[in-house]
């Protein structure tokens, strides 16, 4: 199949998937708005992984991720009446999640808990499933992020960790596109400077066992 045909087919498939997703969102939004019995469970089932991901990546590996995710859904259901565009349910959910994560970060900052334990380290027991190299990288990353203000941290996480577009970030954080760009630039510069100052590799590589020297055949 020629490359442009493959591209066209992919485009059509993607468009169809997007339409199906939009239709599902619209249906779900209508069910939520009219208070249908199983709409809340459906919304949880559909969006909990997305929200959990945003919370987890924004706050860092933290035991309270589950609590914050539930809080987001509780508030989301309480305020579902403010959903103006049912077809934009996904954006509505994201902006809700971002708003509550922002409050949570500010609350933590105020209490000086941040995402770290009192020693300044990410509690090990929460990330035991992650290998040692990644754990080291995560510790470094969230220690750096803790040195940013809430807005900078969120923009940076949503862009570089969550992978959202600038437009999506602007919508979720209720900021202008220009502001998002400016905040991202500032946050990136600051993190880059901090990385430079700390030096060292991203991950601590384990020394690789030396390859056995092949014996020369006589």
């Amino acid at each position: 199949m020629p490359a442009d045909m493959r591209h066209l087919r992919m485009h059509v498939v993607t468009a169809t998937m997007e339409e199906a997703e939009a239709a599902r969102d619209l249906e779900l939004a209508r069910a939520l708005l009219s208070g249908e019995a199983h709409a809340a469970e459906m919304a949880w089932d559909r969006y909990a992984p997305l929200v959990h991901g945003i919370v987890s990546r924004a706050l860092g590996p933290d035991a309270e991720v589950e609590d914050v995710t539930q809080e987001i859904f509780y508030r989301l259901f309480s305020r579902i009446g403010t959903l103006r565009k049912p077809e934009a349910l996904r954006s509505f959910v994201i902006s809700f999640a971002v708003r509550i994560v922002k409050w949570e970060l500010r609350r933590r900052r105020a209490r000086r808990w941040l995402t770290l334990s009192e020693t300044g380290d990410v509690p090990d027991e929460q990330i035991m499933v992650i290998n040692a190299e990644s754990r080291y990288a995560l510790r470094r990353l969230y220690a750096l992020l803790d040195r940013l203000n809430t807005r900078e941290r969120l923009v940076l996480v949503l862009r570089h960790v969550e992978g959202m577009t600038l437009e999506e970030i602007a919508e979720a954080m209720e900021l202008s596109l220009a502001t998002v760009k400016r905040v991202l630039r500032r946050a990136s510069t600051r993190v880059s400077q901090l990385v430079d100052a700390e030096q060292g590799p991203v991950v601590k590589r384990r020394p690789r066992p030396e390859a056995p020297v092949p014996r020369r055949q006589p």
Binding site: W44, R57, E71, H160, V161, K181, L184, V202
Partner: protein, 433 residues
């Protein structure tokens, strides 16, 4: 720009920025980018077990919060009686819903209800009667076409497509009974009455023996509240609404024979004040007897003097009589006089709503009507016509400024009157693109 797809969750495929895109990437150091990639890959995965545990925890959270809110609401209500407390949106309620209580038991005597709700008589000579578990009985007359629309634990809704039904509702708190008679809706709370709808001549007749009902529908201009011993006749084709005392009808029927007043067997008669002579009636009494013409005749003899000298009750009666008889100009002048002469009174607020309805009816466009509805809602936010005014406001805003502008009014309507007559339109408007 270098982009690579990722799929972290159930959402659609996303793209992450490549390091070369300085504008959208913010010039992040490649080592920090690498750390971010590790965070993306290692954090935020939600296992099915975690997802299931989360939904259970959310259930518990809702129960806990609602219990707290109820306690707060109870304390608040105790402190300030009469203040309504919203317990939260329906979605949370439905999320935390206990299994719905079973609907009222129903036995159909002399017939059956088919799958589509149509009430069918077993034999033509034996009209069916619906006996509900709470003691309520709805007896259809012979040849009546009726349907059982809904039945739940609080009551039922029965439609009379043509014919007559006698309704005997057992009063209970929170009961909800409705009879649809053609395009009219009769809302009842513990009452005995008969309702007849003649589809051919488009005529409704309601005779109320006991209790109270309200009737809404075309040409009623809002709900008509009926009290025991009254009879309501609405002739749609002539836009005629006559509400009168039942004993007056009987009296008139027997007058030619100069018979003595009929002996009433019901205690209702004893509880009602004796009816004064026709000439001594106030306009309000003439109005309740359906004698609109005499009010108009008297008022129009010197309308200027009438509007300047009559009291607030008479002005309201005149406005109603004029509306029922389609003397819209007189109605308008009476309503304006009511507002001018008795400002800040409940009747002045009601007049604002009626002026809005008149403006709509007379094709003055939605703008002046909208102004009146807003004024009414401002002056009487919880008034008799609040639901109707808000519903009409929503329609007017939509006509004037489009669906987008009307959505907030629709939200407000659904929040305040989730079962109101405009709730369907409001919900449709909320989800409209």
């Amino acid at each position: 720009m270098t982009r690579h797809p990722t799929q972290d969750d159930d959402g659609p495929v996303r793209v992450l920025p490549g390091p070369a895109d300085s504008d959208s990437n913010g010039n992040l150091d490649p080592r920090a980018v690498e750390m971010a990639q590790i965070a993306r890959k290692t954090l935020g995965q939600m296992s099915p077990k975690l997802r299931a545990r989360g939904i259970d925890a959310l259930h518990r959270l809702v129960v806990r919060r609602q219990s707290i809110r109820r306690r707060i609401a109870f304390v608040t209500v105790a402190a300030a009686a009469g203040v309504a407390i919203a317990f939260g949106p329906r979605v949370l309620h439905s999320f935390n819903q206990e299994p719905a209580p079973p609907p009222l038991a129903l036995i159909v005597e002399g017939g059956a209800v088919d799958a589509s709700g149509v009430i069918r008589a077993r034999a033509e000579a034996e009209p069916p009667a619906l006996h509900f578990g709470d003691g309520t009985v709805i007896q259809l007359d012979q040849g009546t076409r009726g349907r059982l629309t809904t039945v739940d634990d609080r009551g039922a809704r029965v439609a009379i497509d043509h014919g007559r039904a006698r309704v005997d509702v057992v009063p209970k708190p929170h009961a909800r009974w409705q009879i649809d008679a053609g395009p009219f809706v009769i809302s009842v709370h513990g009452t005995v009455f008969s309702a007849e709808w003649d589809a051919a001549s488009e005529r409704l007749e309601v005779n109320l023996e006991r209790g109270s009902v309200s009737v809404t529908g075309p040409v009623t201009n809002g709900p008509i509240a009926m009290r025991a011993g009254q009879s309501l006749i609405v002739k749609l084709r002539r836009s005629e609404v006559v509400l009168r005392d039942t004993d007056e009808q009987e009296h008139e029927a027997e007058a030619p024979a100069l018979a003595p007043p009929p002996v009433r067997t019901r205690a209702v008669v004893a509880s009602r004040p004796s009816r004064p002579a026709r000439q001594a009636r106030s306009w309000a009494m003439s109005l309740s007897a359906g004698d609109f013409d005499s009010i108009l005749e008297e008022a129009e003899r010197d309308i200027g003097h009438t509007l300047a000298s009559r009291g607030t009750e008479d002005l309201a009666a005149l406005a109603d009589a004029a509306r029922y008889r389609r003397h819209d100009d007189v109605a308008r002048r009476a309503l304006l006089a009511q507002r001018r002469r008795f400002p800040a009174s409940p009747r002045a607020a009601d007049a604002a709503f009626q002026l809005g309805r008149l403006d709509e009816k007379n094709g003055r466009g939605p703008a002046p009507a909208l102004a009146w509805y807003e004024r009414y809602l401002d002056e009487a936010p919880n008034g008799t016509y609040a639901a109707e005014a808000l519903g009409r406001k929503m329609i007017a805003v939509e006509e004037l400024h489009g669906a987008g502008a009307a959505r907030s009014v629709a939200e407000q309507y659904v929040r305040r009157f989730p079962r109101g007559s405009y709730a369907g339109a409001a919900r449709a408007l909320r989800v409209e693109r």
